[in-house]
């Protein structure tokens, strides 16, 4: 057999006594010459230039940011408030593509990482929703310094980032014109309970049993210890602030318009039931989105889908021309 280019032909001693299951008859053996089993999935697509860097929040920490859009004096800027913890990691790519779709449509988007998240400075263990709400205010200040205080500020938030954005819109010192919430967390207590469930799953993977049930984890938090949520250590500041947060009262008091897009796991689910907690609120508009759960670890890799991109742009009041995946 001729080895494929770039691969060594050096032979390494291999024991002749190793055993496998019954699974692999010799005729199924493959060689270095075997082509990849699946067709290529990567293709060329260019993103528009983005301005990346760091800015200081009001506590003096450096936060990572990326600015999409090339308008010198936009009338409005969308600030993206990301999901929290590992959901933000999974959601990063579709979020970048959504910002790209806005920019291609003539919009301006400012993305940033909260303190202790993503590539920002800091340690999330002692931070809670109030700190990250304050980071949204810092982001608004950055945008106003760049474009002037007349620029209209809209917040687009995902998952638990909706609780942060709504709090900033309602109680922050700077005006927020409107909110667009993507698959928002309605009840912070339920969401934090799911976070603790993730801890139990990790315990099972590591120890084959649950050594510390949820009640014990909650006690640890109250004693000032930290708990891992999919690798992110969190403390009581986040536990208590998230557990006490609900979206409905925040939206009820917010004076601007709010659009909520519900993303179900399965097509055809009733948006009305899923968002029942938000029924009856003035200035809150509910929309059913496609079945795209890009913030969790499913069996798929999520790039921003054209239908979701088009819907978000439409709801945002922009033309639905961008497809979110570049030219």
């Amino acid at each position: 057999m001729t080895p494929a280019p770039g691969f060594s032909t050096m032979e390494t001693h291999r024991s002749a006594s190793w055993a496998t299951g019954t699974r692999f008859p010799p005729r199924t053996a493959v060689t270095l010459d075997a082509p990849p089993a699946t067709p290529p999935v990567l293709r060329a697509a260019r993103l528009a230039p983005m301005l990346r860097g760091f800015f200081e929040n009001r506590r003096g920490r450096s936060l990572y940011h990326a600015l999409h859009g090339d308008r010198a004096d936009p009338a409005e800027v969308w600030i993206f408030c990301s999901a929290l913890l590992e959901e933000a990691t999974f959601a990063l790519r579709p979020t970048v593509q959504l910002a790209e779709a806005f920019a291609r449509d003539g919009g301006t988007v400012f993305r940033f990482d909260y303190e202790g998240q993503g590539e920002s400075e800091g340690d999330a263990r002692r931070l809670g929703l109030a700190d990250w709400t304050d980071d949204v205010v810092s982001a608004i200040e950055w945008v106003r310094r760049r474009y002037g205080s007349e620029v209209r500020i809209n917040l687009l938030a995902q998952r638990a980032g909706a609780l942060v954005a709504a709090e900033a819109a309602l109680r922050g010192p700077l005006p927020v014109h409107r909110l667009l919430l993507l698959a928002p967390v309605l009840d912070g207590a339920k969401h934090f309970d799911e976070c603790l469930r993730a801890h139990l799953t990790t315990q099972l993977a590591c120890f084959n049993k649950v050594n510390e049930p949820r009640a014990v984890l909650k006690e640890q938090l109250q004693r000032g210890q930290f708990v891992s949520v999919l690798g992110h250590d969190v403390g009581q500041a986040l536990a208590s602030s998230l557990s006490g947060a609900r979206l409905r009262p925040l939206l009820a008091d917010f004076r601007g318009e709010t659009d909520v897009i519900h993303l179900a796991r399965t097509a055809g689910r009733d948006v009305s039931a899923a968002l029942a907690d938000l029924h009856g609120l003035p200035r809150v508009h509910l929309h059913a989105g496609p079945p795209v759960t890009f913030w969790d670890q499913s069996g798929r890799y999520w790039e921003l889908t054209a239908d979701l991109s088009a819907q978000v742009l439409q709801v945002a009041g922009r033309q639905a021309g961008g497809q979110g995946e570049g030219a």
């Binding site: 057999m1 496998t20 299951g21 760091f54 590591c206 798929r300």
Partner: protein, 320 residues
């Protein structure tokens, strides 16, 4: 304050790859390139790359966290697909060219003489493959949670190695308490064919198979084996870190370690380290600390920091 700055790296395809360059206070003799874990982005799972990179910057190493094309903030488009299909392509070397681009850019921008490529899971296999294809440019490899058993194509009819399959079946049993898992079953989102394959593998009878050094079995990634041999032949240091509770470790131990390395945890240039009860991504703080200490110790041993005087002397020597 952060001593990092965003960088852009363009290839001959004119696509821009984006990354974050971290430089130490003084000149760096060695730089470490951090790759995304699988399909996440350059910050790594739960910011693991950020944590390791900033610690290395503090010690005196340069770093680059890097998004290959189609991931994170880089140009390129990965079709929405089953994650395992994309993972299969990564295991076949999808990102070798991108990593070479990043290695060259990191060397140029940091001024380092040595470049080490590091990654977890998909980033680990990409690091090994890229280093094996560029032994002239890469001086070290750190692979964490390295997947050596490729995703088995359903069409092959093959089932996983018995010990691996039994572990996976154990995971299914534990997931019986998960409402999320039951939800996936009821929605038809579970990988039923994969479950069936693991069940068959778990109860398969073992029998000896005579290996051939030039042909490979469906549970072996020939590209990985070729690259590993190349790294050994070129005497390129390679640190492998696994969590002992990681399925990737079970697979590695049952297949490659047993067959290729005769169970030896150290070899000519490679070293294998275990984080006791560590998960695939080192979720718990104690695991992160241990993995970080192993990484740091290996860097100190294999790529020791040069004292300022020594560095000056060497620069002077080089100039002569």
């Amino acid at each position: 304050m952060i001593s990092e700055r965003p960088v852009e790296i363009s290839g001959s395809d004119r696509l821009v790859r984006r990354g974050m360059l971290g430089l130490p206070a003084g000149p760096a003799d060695t730089a470490v390139l951090f790759l995304p874990s699988g399909l996440k982005y350059r910050a790594g799972s739960h910011r693991l790359n950020v944590r390791f990179a900033r610690r290395l910057n503090d010690l005196g190493y340069a770093t680059l966290r890097f998004d290959p094309a189609g991931l994170g903030e880089s140009d390129g488009h990965l079709s929405a697909a089953r994650a395992e299909d994309i993972a299969g392509q990564i295991e076949a070397g999808l990102y070798i060219g991108d990593i070479r681009l990043a290695v060259d850019a990191l060397r140029e921008q940091s001024g380092a003489r040595h470049v080490v490529v590091a990654g977890l899971c998909g980033g680990a296999i990409s690091a090994v493959l890229a280093a094996g294809a560029a032994t002239d440019a890469v001086q070290g490899v750190i692979s964490m949670g390295l997947p050596v058993v490729p995703f088995l194509p359903v069409e092959s009819g093959a089932v996983p190695q018995a010990r691996v399959a039994r572990r996976r079946v154990g995971n299914y049993v534990r997931k019986l308490i998960s409402t999320e898992a039951w939800g996936r079953v009821l929605r038809g989102e579970s990988d039923f064919r994969g479950i069936g394959r693991n069940l068959r593998g778990a109860f398969a009878q073992n029998r000896a198979v005579v290996p051939s050094p030039q042909s490979f079995l469906p549970d072996e990634n020939p590209r990985f084996i070729g690259s590993f041999r190349t790294l050994e032949a070129a005497r390129i240091p390679h640190l492998m870190i696994f969590g002992s509770s990681d399925n990737r470790w079970i697979e590695f131990e049952s297949t490659f370690l047993a067959r290729e390395l005769s169970g030896s945890m150290t070899g000519g240039s490679y070293a294998i380290e275990l984080v006791p009860q560590g998960s695939h991504e080192f979720h718990f703080e104690s695991s992160k600390v241990q993995a970080g200490e192993l990484l740091e110790h290996w860097m100190n041993t294999r790529f020791p920091l040069m004292a300022p005087m020594t560095r000056t002397q060497e620069a002077s020597h080089d100039a002569q």
